[in-house]
């Protein structure tokens, strides 16, 4: 079926498949590259002003550990914000679940027949289910009863703040069993065995690499490049626009180099932290979910125009419900990571984290109106905040100044984003 052109119309401008110019493509993707560039610039800045401390292997490992729970929650928050909602309860929920984990594992004395509940794995699963249930309950009110998410989750924030105080009876509970601590404090075992690059000797620091970490990084890089090349070839074969070859190469080389560099840094300390493995899998899954799965596509559709999405047959209520359930489960995971890292659950744990999470998503380019946002952006946004926290602490910047600077960075990021959009519109 082709439409005969009206006796009036001008012929449709047929676009031919062609390679865009290098700079044209860079400009078209400025938003994506800009954010990554900002992160790199911030890291270089602090590397200089912390006299080289920032890039020390131990510190890089620390940055990952310190921000893991923010990033885990930012993944769920991205879905929430893209759907046009907000979740203010995630900090309190993560604190509550951390407290629940502590009480299950060390606080409560179970009768022998229920002692299995204190097993770290069983307790972890219970915590995830409780988190998902909390999210689902809030999601139910938001999706099916149309109560604004701001209000439901504000109430949730107060409720779970109170509940964690209650079940901990106002005290800190810890320490956790060793297995549970591994979630945050552990590193993957070096099954291959260390590689000694520089042996210890008089006046020389030894340099021993965690070989398994390097192997995993190399495999990951090779796989990514392989899929990138395959996708590009397929698109080209079907006659679609592809980015210029030069840009393609530069982009992949830069990303591969960055990944290998960080892997090398981690490998020269204690290797891949367990939590980074968990995070990596989650990030990969959420990128896939938002970019390739129908569920993800429907979230963007309902965030962009709820009524149009509903009239296109999307079950908008059910989708919203699931989003909040996912957010709850991620908040639970984050709560456990946080508690495991501190090695105790405290009544104040998690408070205010929701603001860091929301800030990360907005710095990452999501729109407060819904329908716009990307997982990669949210992750980079979280790292921007994390690196600034870490760098400023090392520099000895006072906490009051740190807060102000972070506020300004959030404003500036959103401002430039909107400025660019308006200019291109």
């Amino acid at each position: 079926m082709t439409v005969q052109t009206a006796p009036t119309g001008t012929p449709a401008d047929q676009t031919k498949s062609q390679e865009l110019s290098f700079f044209g493509a860079v400009r078209a993707n400025m938003r994506d590259y800009g954010l990554l560039l900002a992160l790199i610039l911030i890291m270089v800045f602090f590397q200089y002003f912390t006299a080289g401390v920032l890039f020390k292997p131990v510190n890089l490992t620390n940055i990952i550990l310190q921000n893991s729970y923010i990033i885990v929650m930012a993944l769920g928050m991205l879905l929430v914000i893209v759907a046009g909602h907000i979740d203010l309860s995630v900090g309190s929920v993560s604190g509550f679940v951390g407290a629940l984990a502590a009480m299950l594992m060390v606080g409560w004395r179970f009768p022998p027949e229920l002692a299995f509940l204190a097993n770290p794995i069983v307790a972890g699963i219970i915590c995830l289910i409780v988190g998902a249930a909390i999210g689902a309950a809030q999601g139910y009110l938001i999706a099916y009863h149309k109560i604004p998410s701001f209000i439901v989750t504000l109430a949730g924030m107060l409720i779970f703040k109170g509940l964690s105080l209650a079940i901990l009876a106002g005290k800190s509970v810890g320490p956790f069993p060793t297995e549970f601590q591994l979630l945050s404090a552990g590193f993957i075992p070096d099954v291959i065995g260390p590689t000694t690059l520089v042996a210890a000797s008089e006046g020389v620091q030894p340099l021993v690499l965690h070989t398994t970490t390097m192997v995993i990084a190399i495999v990951a890089v090779v796989a990514t490049v392989f899929f990138a090349i395959r996708t590009r070839a397929r698109r080209k074969a079907r006659g679609y626009d592809v980015e210029p070859f030069s840009l393609f190469v530069v982009k992949n080389v830069v990303i591969a180099a960055l990944v290998l560099f960080f892997a090398y840094m981690l490998a020269s300390y204690r290797g891949l932290p367990n939590v980074l493995v968990v995070m990596g899998i989650l990030i990969a899954f959420f990128v896939f979910l938002t970019k390739r799965m129908t569920f993800g596509r429907r979230i963007y559709a309902l965030g962009g125009n709820l009524k149009a999405a509903a009239l296109s047959g999307i079950k908008t209520e059910r989708t919203t419900f699931y989003i909040f359930a996912i957010m709850g489960a991620l908040a639970a995971l984050a709560g456990m990571i946080y508690a495991a890292r501190l090695n105790s659950a405290t009544p104040k744990a998690g408070q205010g984290l929701e603001l860091d999470v929301i800030a990360a998503v907005f710095i990452g380019g999501a729109s407060a109106l819904g329908g716009v946002g990307a997982v990669a952006g949210a992750v980079i946004g979280a790292f921007i905040m994390g690196v600034m926290n870490n760098g400023m602490s090392i520099m000895g910047v006072n906490i009051d100044w740190q807060q102000m600077i972070k506020g300004v960075v959030l404003l500036a990021a959103v401002f430039f984003d909107l400025y660019n959009k308006n200019r291109s519109a």
């Binding site: 129908t294 596509r297 962009g304």
Partner: protein, 510 residues
């Protein structure tokens, strides 16, 4: 000899990648009604935005002379200060404020920041009487109809001492009667010496009231015609660049067996439980048939279609739907789609499209399973689908990655059609499929409708433009106050006959 009140010389406005206006000239004489015509995307609205300062001086090339002086407006405030007021297609009223508050919004009758309510009400009453609106100035704007809201906008313009009134598609969403009243008002203003510029697609209105008409096409001035030169044919010829012998493509219907039967369909108002809006409607659609529903605004046509499509409107819905003789469930939008019904809304921006997303994602959203397996989208297959439909429906865009919000109305409508074509329904309900789109795009949409019918689909068209219904359908239902009050083959129908069935029904009802 009348004076020229406004002269725009060699206006050129460039957006990244597009030249929206190139070397446009416009002169408007004092006290006339000057119409600007052109297809969607021709540059009419851009020109008015340049004039009113929405695009400030410096962002365009060329000069604007108003009352003999060159003007360099930097904002709407500047132009309003000189008595140039623009009323946009989408009204700029605050629904939950009163009429009086809206009229004086930004221009409050106040001393030292304290509002004088007596002054406000008196002033509003005076202005309302000038536009012939007898409403209490304390009534909330949300409680009056669109036609009256339009008049409130004009009253607001009058409060700013308007000398040059610009109306962008003022009658697009008005009923016949309200349009009439509005046009009369403009002619009244002409007597009082207020100059008006009116942008409209309704050529019959223009040829009736305009003193002069300027036609813009592809960002250029084509011609300005005067008095007796103004005819619908000539305007169309100028607008499209070629004469349109026929506004509707030829149709050779091949009608087959009955596909859809709706029996005894009744619907109540979503807020008022006792108000029955659709009353025992029966309709049938046959294979390859294009059927129209004619009726006045508010006759319940859209409500009928939306209630049929997944109970998207109303409550206490009763009745039966048969598809190919089988009773089907249309209780949710998803089930209605799976059972072969699609509904393209009358309001594509609010209900039809995700404007911030691009053509590709809008095309596949109603049928994502078609491009995915186990919930994973095959992105290349999806791209193929989007490109395929872009070609089929002749969407003019740089690629399928162009945001739908940046397309012209006609192209947006084609995206809506693409979406529903890809969902592959047996029955396609099109609600006002050509509202607010230009003549050329209308023709293309009619062609698509014909092709769909030729493929054996049944099409139900709801339209307020009777000539359109008469031009493209095979059979017509007439709806009035939620009832089907007439049915006729289009070959035997005429505007008079349709109106007669409506009037007869009204007579019976009262």
């Amino acid at each position: 000899m009348t004076n020229t009140i406004l002269e725009m010389r060699s206006i050129t406005k460039t957006f990244p990648g597009v030249k929206a206006l190139s070397d446009v000239n416009l002169d408007v004489r004092e006290g006339e009604i000057h119409a600007i015509c052109g297809e969607n995307g021709a540059g009419k609205s851009t020109l008015m935005k340049v004039l009113s300062g929405v695009y400030p001086h410096g962002t365009y090339e060329g000069q604007i002379f108003y009352k003999g002086e060159e003007q360099q407006f930097r904002s709407i405030r500047d132009s309003e200060h000189k008595g140039i007021v623009i009323i946009h297609q989408e009204l700029a009223l605050v629904p939950l404020l009163s009429i009086a508050e809206n009229i004086f919004l930004g221009n409050e009758q106040a001393k030292n920041g304290v509002i004088d309510w007596d002054e406000t009400r008196d002033g509003a009453r005076k202005l309302l009487s000038m536009v012939g609106l007898s409403e209490d100035p304390d009534t909330l704007v949300t409680n009056i109809g669109v036609g009256k809201q339009q008049l409130v906008e004009i009253a607001k313009a009058l409060s700013k001492q308007v000398q040059l009134l610009i109306l962008d598609e003022p009658t697009a969403s008005l009923s016949e009667k309200d349009s009439q009243a509005l046009l009369d008002l403009l002619m009244e203003f002409r007597k009082q010496g207020i100059t008006s510029i009116i942008i409209s697609h309704k050529l019959n209105e223009i040829s009736r009231i305009a003193d002069r008409v300027t036609v813009i096409r592809d960002g250029r001035t084509i011609e300005t015609m005067e008095n007796e030169e103004i005819t619908e044919d000539r305007i169309i010829t100028s607008m499209v660049g070629r004469s349109l012998d026929d506004r509707y493509p030829n149709r050779e219907p091949k009608i087959g067996e009955t596909i859809l039967e709706v029996k005894n369909w009744s619907v109540y108002h979503p807020q008022h439980r006792d108000r029955q809006v659709i009353k025992n409607v029966d309709i049938t659609l046959r294979k390859g048939e294009v059927v129209g529903i004619a009726g006045l605004m508010g006759s319940g046509r859209t409500e009928f279609a939306m209630s049929l499509f997944g109970k998207s409107w109303g409550q206490k819905i009763t009745g039966e739907v048969f598809m190919h003789g089988q009773k089907i469930d249309t209780g949710t939008v998803g089930r209605a789609i799976r059972n072969g019904i699609a509904y393209a809304t009358e309001d594509r921006k609010t209900f039809g499209l995700n404007l911030i997303d691009h053509i590709k994602n809008n095309t596949t959203i109603a049928n994502l399973p078609g491009v995915s397996r186990w919930g994973v989208i095959d992105d290349l297959a999806e791209l193929d689908v989007a490109n395929d439909y872009r070609k089929k429906t002749n969407i003019r865009s740089s690629s399928v990655y162009q945001a739908v919000g940046n397309l012209s109305g006609g192209n947006q409508q084609k995206v809506v059609l693409s979406k529903w074509l890809y969902a592959n329904p047996d029955v396609l309900i099109l609600d006002e499929p050509t509202r607010g789109i230009d003549v050329g795009a209308k023709y293309e949409i009619y062609t698509i409708i014909n092709q769909l019918a030729a493929q054996g689909k049944a099409i139900l068209v709801i339209s307020s433009e009777m000539p359109e219904l008469l031009g493209i359908t095979d059979r017509l239902y007439v709806m009035n106050e939620g009832r089907i009050v007439g049915e006729m083959p289009t070959s035997e129908a005429s505007q008079e006959k349709i109106m007669r069935s409506i009037v007869r029904a009204e007579g019976k009802a009262s």
